[in-house]
Structures are given as C-alpha cells and as structure tokens.
C-alpha cells in the first residue's frame, strides 16, 4: 500500500523503500523521545507530589482536653449553656488558638453532654433558639432538639457530642482533632 502511494506520488520503487525506512526511524525516535521524556517527567514529579501533599499528613494533630469552666456554670436544666472553649491547633507553620462554641446540657441520666455547634450538614454554626427550644442552623434551616437529635432539614445526622469529663469540679471537653 505504501509502495503504491509512493509510486503515485512519482517516487520510484527503490526510493520509496528508503523513504519508508526513514519515516519508520523518525517516528520510532519520536516514540522513544516521548516515552523516555514522560517517564523522566513522572520521576521528577515525585518530590513535588510529596511536597504538595505534606499538609494532608501534618494536619492530623491530636486534640487535648480543654477546660470549659466549673461544673457550677452548667446547672441550668431548662436550656443548654453556651460556652466558648479555646482550641489550640497547628495551622501550617504556626500554632493558633481559636474559639469554638459548645452547648452543654445533661442527658436523661444527668450526665453532661457537650454538643458541638458545628452543623453536621455543611459546617455552619448552629444557634440555640430559646423561644422554640431548638437548635437552628442559619444556613439551610437544619433543626435539632435540645439533646442534639435531628428534627428536620438537610442535616444527615444529629449534632456531634464531644467527650466530656469532670476534673476536680471542673468540666473538660475534648474537641475534635483539627
């Protein structure tokens, strides 16, 4: 077929053989170039991939117990008590302190329950509405009962309950790791 084409183009039989060999060598070289080049580039990309992905590894910093105040602060039985806790966490190259609101209530057995104010839907801050006795998320209207269970709206589950413990009359809370 190639012979036919070459002859049609006005090239003699012998020359067409040389032409085909030349074209073969050139495209083979091109293949070689691109394959070796691509493999080399892939190897070179490795340190960059590690470098870029580092924060994913470093993010897993452990959280530790945070003091939320004396137990006497949380005696209200009618409403959850809003409390700001200071959370220290590693933010890239710096250590930051940020505040987060938690709602402290008691369960049926009287044990403390600390509800994270972070909505389980998309992370907005849920606020307590004392007139309707519900937690309402301002973003998409998710609604939660005083114990944190889901009532209505898009959130997929109840509000997160954070671990609590009592140390010498003070309530400590374990915030989720950053």
């Amino acid at each position: 077929m190639a012979t036919q084409r070459a002859t049609l183009a006005g090239v003699s039989e012998g020359e067409s053989g040389k032409l085909a060999a030349l074209v073969g060598r050139r495209s083979f070289l091109a293949m070689l170039f691109s394959t070796v080049g691509a493999a080399f580039a892939a190897v070179c990309a490795l340190p960059f991939a590690r470098y870029i992905a580092y924060p994913l590894y470093a993010a897993g910093s452990h959280s530790h117990w945070v003091d939320a105040g004396p137990v006497s602060d949380f005696t209200s039985t009618s409403e959850p008590v809003r409390k700001l806790i200071n959370i220290e966490h590693l933010d890239g190259w710096q250590q930051t302190v940020s505040q987060q609101a938690v709602y402290v209530t008691r369960d049926a057995g009287g044990a403390f329950v600390a509800l994270s104010s972070v909505c389980p839907h998309l992370g907005c801050s849920v606020a307590w509405q004392s007139n309707s006795k519900t937690f309402v998320c301002p973003c998409h209207g998710g609604c939660f009962a005083p114990d944190g269970s889901r009532i209505s709206g898009p959130p997929p589950r109840r509000m997160s309950a954070l671990p609590t413990r009592i140390d010498g009359g003070r309530l400590s809370i374990l915030p989720p790791s950053a």
């Binding site: 077929m1 012979t3 053989g17 070289l29 340190p47 960059f48 590690r50 870029i52 710096q94 505040q99």
Partner: protein, 488 residues
C-alpha cells in the same frame, strides 16, 4: 512480510490515533508547526556548542516550577518570611530539596548565561542582521541578574538581609536619582516588610513577565535570522550542507538538559540548602558577602571612595554595560572567525578577566584578614547550628478567626521585653537570633525563680554573650517572666 508492508500495516492499525491527530491538525495546524520547529535547518549540522540556549530554557522552566512550589508555603512579610522558609526547609517533605534546586538553579543559570554569551561571541553569531537579537539577549541577561538579586532577599535570614542592605545602598550612590531609587525599592528609608513585598512582586510577577516576553522575542528573532552555523559559514546565505534540528540537535539538547537536571538534583541532594538564623538588624558583627557572581562588583566598590566613587560605581559599570550591549555595532566586519578578529576578542575577554580577578581578590582578602575569616567561619557555624534545631511553630496569639487576648501581665511583659531591647539580641517574639538564643519554651526548662534570678544576675556564659543586668522594677521583672513563660 517486507519492511514496507509491515510499515503500512502498522499505519492502518494506528488509524484511530491517526484520525484523532488529523482532526486536531485540521483545527490547529500542529503538523506544520511541529515541522517548522523540528526541521529547522542547521548549517554545518548539529553541534554540542549549540546546547546552551535550550539549556537556559530548561533551567528557567525548572526555576518556574520550583518557584511556584515555594510560593505554596512562603508568606512575604517581615514577621513570616523567615518562619515560612524555615518551615518548608525543615518540615515539609522534599521542601529542602525543592528549595535547593531553586537556589542552586540560579547559580546554574548564571553559568549558562556566560556559556551562551561566550559561545555566541566566539562563533560571531551576533553579526549581520542579528543586532536586535543580541540586544534582547543583553536585556535578558540583566533581568536574570535582577531575578538573582530579588530572590536572594526572600528567605530573610541574616545573610540575605545584610547582602540586600549593601546591594540597595550601592544603588543610592548613583547621582541624583540614586537615593530616591533606593527608597523606592525598599519602600522606605529602611529595609522592612515593604521591602520584602516589593522584592517578592518583582521576583514572581514583574521580572518573570518581562523575561517571558523577551524570551519569546529572542526566539522569534533567532528563527527569523536562522541558526548561524559554524564561524566559517556565511551568515546570510549559509553555504554548508545543513541538517535538520530533529533528531540530532534535539538529542544533544535533550542530553544536555538531562545532564543539567541530574547535576542540579545531585547538588541539591548532596549539599542540602541551608537557612541562617532570623534577621537581627541590631547585629554589628555580621559580615555580609554576596553570591559569587556579584562578588567582583562587591570587590570593585572597595576601591572607590569619596567624591570619585560615582566614577567607579556608576560611570565605569555603565560604560562596560554599553560596551557589552554594543558588541554587534562595534565588531561589524563580516569576518566571524575568532582568530581573525583579535581586537574584538581581547576587548571581550579583558573585562571578563578583570571580573574573575576581582572575584579572586575578594576571596583572598577575606582569607587573609584573620578577623573576617573567623567571623565568616563563625557565621557558617551559626547557620549549621540553626539548621540542626528542629522547626518550632510560632505561637500566633491572635488567631484570625477568634482573637483570644493574652493576660494584661503578659502584654505588659512584652512591652518590657521591647522597652529593654531584649528583642535586639533575642529577636522579635524571643525567636532567637545569631546573637542570643531563642527563649520560646524557656518556661518549661527553668522555674520562675530561676528565670528572675538569671535576668537580675546573668551567669558567666550570659555575661560573655553581652547579656546586660536587668535594673528595672520588680513589677517589670515579674511581667517579663510571665511573658517569657507564655511563649510556647
């Protein structure tokens, strides 16, 4: 099966890929573009002497990629620059390697620039209708030196701070516009956070933009004039049989690029890049030294003092630069062979030799002066010691989201720390400098009583390091100890 048949079968088998290629070609003309690039005729054939231009392109590409990677962690402000460079060098995976490739890459580029210029000069490839091509190259040369100068400051360690201090002060020596130029570049009278922003903007936006544009012009003009070939050949109508760029020259260029990459990787791996302690502007001992390619200029400035300085700092360098830019206008004869244009060659080699000599003299001066030699060795040790310390994240007291104010006593203690100039040696936020150690975390090592005792009555080692006796009120002492204890 004959070879030809085999070939044609292979073609029909790949017809899917071919059809896609045809489809793209009809819309972009990629085939003729590739042919235009790859089949460029080189008079006299491929040579290793022609690899420096594409080598430069390759090195610049590496700088661009590593530069983007560095920008991922770097924050250009006086309070954060050093911290973030320390973080990416000591903590981030491959960070030291990537920063090393970028920093050493600048040395490679300067070397390649010289090789490219010398090859072009020796081959007489700047002659006949190539004047603008040469001029665009001269501009690129200067812009690359600008990149080296602006990039040097960014780590904001002792070395880069003082080297840039000297570099910008040199600028102020220029008559009339000098002082204004210096203040504009620094963003004020002193070096500070605005200087960093300016250098960073120049380094990552302005200069790269200019360099990219000029490279496009340089390459277009080169293709228009055509490769010059060997010095024996005619520049306008080459007589020698030519050879297409692909595959031989491309193979040579690729081989050289590979050697470049391997060389850079090797240097960055076996000579890990270092970072000095954070800038301490109050240090009076520090001796700054520029990189080797600015060393000749640095040495040259030593010889010019007083009212004549303007001749040495402005007039003579400008003349040399003009001479360099004017090469194609001065050496205008048709003759390309180097041995037939001795006058021109001497005029070119002489300034280069003077530069090399000045560099060697500067190096010798530093070795002969025992005080300088000791201090330079000391600075090197400082840097090595700082590199061995693990990275400690700075405590940011005021989070951007929810500020948590520190106690009034700690705030007062910080005021005392600054009022008594503790930061001059111990650094801002007591992060430590070359002059005095880091105090962050000292509260975990020493008790309150020990801290108060040492501040009132420094021990022998502290006194030797020029730690003064604290003579303030007891309240202030309590406050500063509370401040130190708050640093974790």
């Amino acid at each position: 099966m004959s070879r030809t048949e085999f070939q044609s079968n292979a073609l029909t088998e790949r017809s899917g890929a071919r059809r896609l290629y045809d489809w793209i070609d009809q819309r972009t003309g990629i085939r003729s573009l590739l042919r235009h690039i790859l089949d460029e005729p080189i008079p006299g054939g491929a040579r290793w002497a022609y690899v420096f231009g594409s080598g430069l392109l390759c090195a610049l590409f590496i700088q661009a990629i590593t530069g983007v990677a560095l920008a991922l962690y770097y924050v250009p402000a006086a309070g954060t620059a050093h911290e973030t460079v320390a973080y990416l060098t000591k903590q981030v995976w491959s960070g030291s390697f990537i920063r090393g490739v970028h920093a050493y890459g600048s040395h490679f580029i300067v070397l390649l620039l010289f090789a490219h210029v010398i090859q072009t000069f020796v081959y007489g490839a700047f002659k006949k209708r190539r004047e603008i091509l040469w001029l665009s190259g001269v501009c690129l040369f200067l812009l690359m030196l600008g990149m080296a100068f602006t990039g040097y400051l960014l780590p904001w360690d002792q070395r880069s701070y003082f080297a840039t201090m000297v570099g910008t002060n040199v600028m102020a020596e220029a008559p009339v516009v000098g002082p204004l130029l210096k203040r504009l570049l620094r963003g004020g009278e002193d070096m500070g956070t605005l200087t960093l922003s300016r250098f960073y903007t120049l380094h990552i936006l302005v200069l790269p933009g200019l360099i990219l544009t000029l490279i496009a012009l340089h390459v277009c003009l080169f293709r228009r004039a055509g490769p010059a070939g060997t010095p024996q050949d005619d520049l306008i109508k080459p007589q020698r049989p030519s050879q297409p760029f692909y595959p031989r020259q491309l193979l040579m260029d690729a081989g050289f690029a590979l050697a470049l990459v391997l060389g850079l990787v090797g240097v960055a791996h076996f000579l890990p890049i270092t970072l000095g302690p954070a800038t301490n502007p109050a240090s009076t001992e520090y001796i700054p030294r520029p990189e080797w390619y600015f060393l000749p200029m640095f040495q040259w400035l030593k010889y010019w003092q007083g009212p004549r300085a303007v001749i040495g700092i402005v007039v003579i360098p400008s003349l040399v630069l003009l001479l360099f830019a004017g090469v194609p206008f001065l050496d205008r004869r048709y003759e390309r062979r180097a041995r037939k244009r001795l006058f021109s060659v001497v005029g070119f080699v002489l300034p280069l030799a003077v530069l090399a000599l000045l560099g060697a003299l500067s190096y010798r001066d530093d070795r002969l002066d025992p005080r300088v030699r000791l201090q330079l060795a000391h600075q090197k040790d400082e840097e090595a010691r700082y590199m061995k310390q693990p990275f400690v994240p700075a405590l940011e007291a005021y989070s951007f989201a929810n500020p948590v104010p520190p106690s009034p006593e700690i705030v007062a203690g910080r005021g005392v720390f600054l009022a008594h100039h503790c930061n001059f040696c111990h650094g801002d936020d007591a992060a430590g400098t070359a002059a005095a150690p880091r105090l962050v975390g000292i509260g975990e090592q020493l008790s309150t009583e020990q801290l108060m005792g040492l501040i009132r009555r420094p021990n022998a080692k502290m006194t030797a390091g020029k730690m003064p006796v604290f003579v303030g009120r007891d309240d202030d002492l309590h406050a500063v100890v509370a401040y130190l204890q708050s640093l974790r």
